[in-house]
Amino acid sequence: MKLDIHYFASVRERLGVEGQQLELAGSASVAELIALLTRAEPKFSVMIEATPSILVAVNQTVVGRSYILADDDEVAFFPPMTGG
C-alpha cells in the first residue's frame, strides 16, 4: 500500500520536511501508521510527543485514529487549526 503523506505548520517545522511517500505491506489504521512512524523515525516520535492534539486528514477530510487507510491515500498531519 502506497501513502502520500503531508505535514503542515508546526508539525512540518518539527520534522523538517513537507511530506514523504511511504510503502506499507498490508493494511493499517491511522493509529497503526502513527505507531509505525513513531518507532521508525526519532523526529516523528519527538513531534508526536510535542503535539498531543495532532489531527489527521485522509484525502482532505479529518478522520479518527481507527480509520483504515487504503492504497494511494493522501494522509496529512497537522496541529489544531487557527484560522479566521
Binding site: F8, Q60, T61, M81, G83, G84
Partner: protein, 156 residues
C-alpha cells in the same frame, strides 16, 4: 462563492457584488477579521505583532470553505454568501478574512455569518504563525473557539 488568496480585498466591492448576486435581499451582514497589532497571549501580558504568516492546506482549504458555505445555505434561507480568506505574509492591521451573507431577513444573515466564522476558526485548515520582537511562534488553538463551534451542532 469562496476565495483563498494572498491579495487584499475591498469590502465595498464585496458588499456591492453580494448585493447584486442576492437579487432582492432585505439584509446583508458582513464581517471582516484583522491582524491585531497588540495581541494578548496566555504566556505573557501582550506582544507587539510585527507580522503574521498564514499557512493552509491547498485543496482541503477550498473544500472546507465550499462545505461550510453549503451548510450555511442548508440551515438558513440565504440568497448569497461570500467567504474570502487570505494566506501568506500579512502585516499588522491588515485584513485576514471576509464573510458576507445576504437574506430576506436579518436573523438569517446575522446567524449564518457567525456560524461561518465559528466554523472557520477551528475547522478550516489554516494555521497562524505570529512574528513579534520575541521571535516567531505558532498560535495555539483556543478552547473558546472549539466551544463556539459546538453550539452549532456540526455533523463532523
Amino acid at each position: 462563492m469562496i476565495s483563498v488568496q494572498e491579495q487584499d480585498f475591498d469590502i465595498g466591492h464585496e458588499y456591492e457584488s453580494l448585493r447584486v448576486r442576492a437579487g432582492d435581499p432585505g439584509a446583508i451582514v458582513t464581517f471582516s477579521g484583522l491582524v491585531r497589532e497588540i495581541y494578548d497571549t496566555s504566556e505573557s501580558a501582550s506582544a507587539v505583532v510585527s507580522g503574521l504568516f498564514l499557512e493552509h492546506y491547498p485543496g482541503m482549504t477550498e473544500r472546507c470553505l465550499e462545505d461550510i458555505a453549503e451548510q450555511a445555505l442548508q440551515r438558513w434561507p440565504l440568497l448569497a454568501t461570500r467567504i474570502i480568506h487570505r494566506v501568506g505574509e500579512l502585516g499588522p492591521k491588515e485584513q485576514i478574512v471576509f464573510v458576507g451573507t445576504a437574506s430576506a431577513n436579518r436573523h438569517a444573515a446575522f446567524e449564518s455569518a457567525m456560524f461561518i466564522m465559528d466554523y472557520l476558526k477551528s475547522h478550516a485548515p489554516f494555521w497562524k504563525k505570529q512574528k513579534s520582537e520575541d521571535g516567531s511562534r505558532w498560535i495555539s488553538s483556543r478552547a473558546s473557539d472549539a466551544a463556539a463551534i459546538k453550539k452549532w451542532d456540526l455533523d463532523n
